[in-house]
């Protein structure tokens, strides 16, 4: 890391970018601390790539500013920004060797030969590509290509590294392995990472902070824990992890919030300020938070239902309960021989419960459930 280009924060101020009718990025603001691993998470077409391209300088915002270390770089061309990108499909130069690909940036910067060689060796070593330096990209496996792309960006010691779904093209096993590697690397070099992904698990595993996007807007920003455990809207709750949704009217507020849904089920939640008595709220309960009642019946959130289906996932089991009033409830249990649920059979009437802290009260965000979402959901279910 050289002196001037050291750590710095990246700030987006109310950045908007439209393509014709489409508002690809709509008033996005966020701030990334130096050395942070910051993820942009969202469904396809939500504007993640566009946001990244605005930071890299491939697109110009219609309004708003992009600041790096406090300096406005909104109008700077890409080659003048101390930012580098790892492209979605790597965009390796097919006509250049690994070495020449990785050295490309330094050659542009007219770095002296000896330093170039030194940094090249160092970087190739870091990503374990020394042996492959004279190969061409198409002679490399997916994982190796990915490492070349990473090396090509890292060697320039950028202040911020942008990564656009860098692992999307890899298969499951390799993706898992590369995730770990990426994380370790980021911790070691200490560069700020802006990481785009539509894989919630990946975002949760890797990030220091996550911004969940939809339709060009940032819906929620926070640590992985915040995003998963305290989603603010239904969209976020649904997109990040699986959920059982309830909708009902607040019967008690204050210290303990109690909500009754249409089927008469009462759900106890931890207190939230916007849940006023009589208002309608949505509640999300994660399948893994629901536990079989074992021994003494709990005081709250005791639910009884019939086991309709067990889905065997190997390490996990999904248990589908039919509650009174026709609602479905899904539980997820680890596949352990000692788990109480392992004795359940389809057709059994069983009791389950969950901690009031696990009842997530959401603002009703019909705004985000616009027509297209509804169509898409209908489609994916039908």
């Amino acid at each position: 890391m050289d002196g001037e280009g050291g750590r710095a924060d990246l700030v987006l101020e109310d950045v908007t970018k439209s393509f014709g009718e489409v508002r690809a990025v709509d008033g996005v603001s966020f701030q990334v601390e130096p050395g942070q691993f910051f993820s942009l998470l969202g469904p396809s077409g939500c504007g993640k790539t566009t946001t990244l391209r605005l930071i890299a300088g491939f697109e110009q915002p219609d309004s708003g500013r992009v600041l790096l270390s406090g300096m406005d770089m909104t109008r700077l061309p890409p080659n003048r920004r101390r930012v580098n990108t790892v492209f979605q499909h790597y965009a390796l130069f097919p006509h250049l060797t690994v070495e020449d690909n990785v050295g490309f940036g330094l050659k542009q910067a007219k770095v002296p030969k000896s330093e170039l060689t030194r940094r090249l060796d160092e970087t190739l070593k870091r990503v374990r590509l020394e042996e492959l330096r004279t190969r061409r990209p198409r002679e490399l496996s997916g994982g190796q290509q990915q490492r070349v792309a990473l090396a090509r960006a890292l060697i320039n010691e950028p202040t911020v590294l942008l990564l656009d779904e860098p692992l999307a093209a890899l298969d499951l096993k390799l993706r898992k392995a590369m995730q770990q590697e990426l994380k370790r690397l980021q911790e070691r070099v200490g560069i700020t990472f802006i990481y785009v992904t539509h894989d919630q698990e990946e975002a949760l595993t890797l990030s220091d902070r996550i911004a969940v996007m939809n339709d060009g807007l940032i819906l929620q920003e926070g640590s992985p824990n915040e995003i998963y455990e305290r989603p603010r809207t239904r969209f976020v709750a649904d997109f990040v992890g699986q959920t059982n949704f309830f909708e009902g009217i607040v019967e008690e507020d204050g210290d303990r919030v109690v909500v009754r849904d249409e089927s008469g089920l009462t759900i106890t939640c931890s207190p939230v300020d916007f849940a006023r008595r009589g208002s309608t709220v949505a509640i999300a309960v994660r399948p893994e938070k629901i536990i079989p009642v074992n021994g003494a019946a709990p005081a709250v959130n005791l639910v009884e239902g019939t086991l309709t289906r067990r889905t065997y996932l190997g390490d996990l089991l999904q248990l589908h309960l039919l509650l009174q009033g026709g609602r479905e409830l899904t539980l997820q249990r680890q596949n352990e021989p000692d788990d109480p649920s392992s004795a359940w059979r389809v057709g059994d009437r069983v009791q389950v419960t969950w901690d009031p802290r696990s009842s997530l009260v959401l603002e009703i965000d019909q705004a985000f459930m616009d027509e297209e979402d509804i169509r898409l959901m209908a489609d994916s279910q039908g």
Binding site: G57, P78, F87, A91, L92, F93, G105, A109, R136, N156
Partner: protein, 267 residues
Amino acid sequence: MNLAASNRTVNAGLKSHAALVYAFLYLPILIVVIYAFNDSRLVQIWHGFSTRWFGEAWRDDTLRNAFRISLITATLNAVIATILGTAAGLALRNVGRKTRSAFDMFMYTTLIVPEIVIAIASLLFFVTLGLPLGPVAIVITHSVFNTSVVGLIVRARLAGVDRSLEEASTDLGATRWGTFYQVTLPQLFPAVLAGALLAFTFSFDDVVLSSFVSGVGSTTLPVEIFSQIRFGLSPKVNVVAVVTLSLTIVAIVTAQALLRREARRVV
């Protein structure tokens, strides 16, 4: 019928058809090659084996001159067409729909309008404006058509070139020119080469356009051969055919080798 047997019948049918097509394609070439070694003063009558027409052809100033003119005009034409076509192909990526379709229309019409029509239109153009007929006219007339050929090839190739490669280059600090030179051009090279070769061949082979707009001392090889065919054939034509054929094969093989080497480097 048994699965394998029916497969075999179809394969055999396709194979023998293909063999016939190859015969169809190569029979004429074979004949010309054979007749180049005909001793006869007449083209069509076999008199025995001889290589004397090779000597005669070599000593024939008219043929040598025509060959030279053809080489020069075809090369100049290829240079112009390659530059104009490549530039246009590149620019077409960045223009609006309307401009693009208007330009497309130009490119396609130059290919669609029959050669004979272009030939006479060009002739009328040069005559009406009092411009001289001759090598320059040939080069210009050829290059119009060939610009489209190169333009379309380059554009097709560009469609397959990932824009993000160029973005990656600027992202890594390269200037616009640096990006063009270091990334775009190498990607484009096979297409440009193919386009240039095609432009050259089309021009080198052209008889219609050339025969209408040629002037003093600008008789190209095809025009010369054509007028010989029309006015009295000399067996030297067969020799010319064999020589150009050999040159072409050498050229193609070299180009293929080059392209393959490029291909190994590029793409």
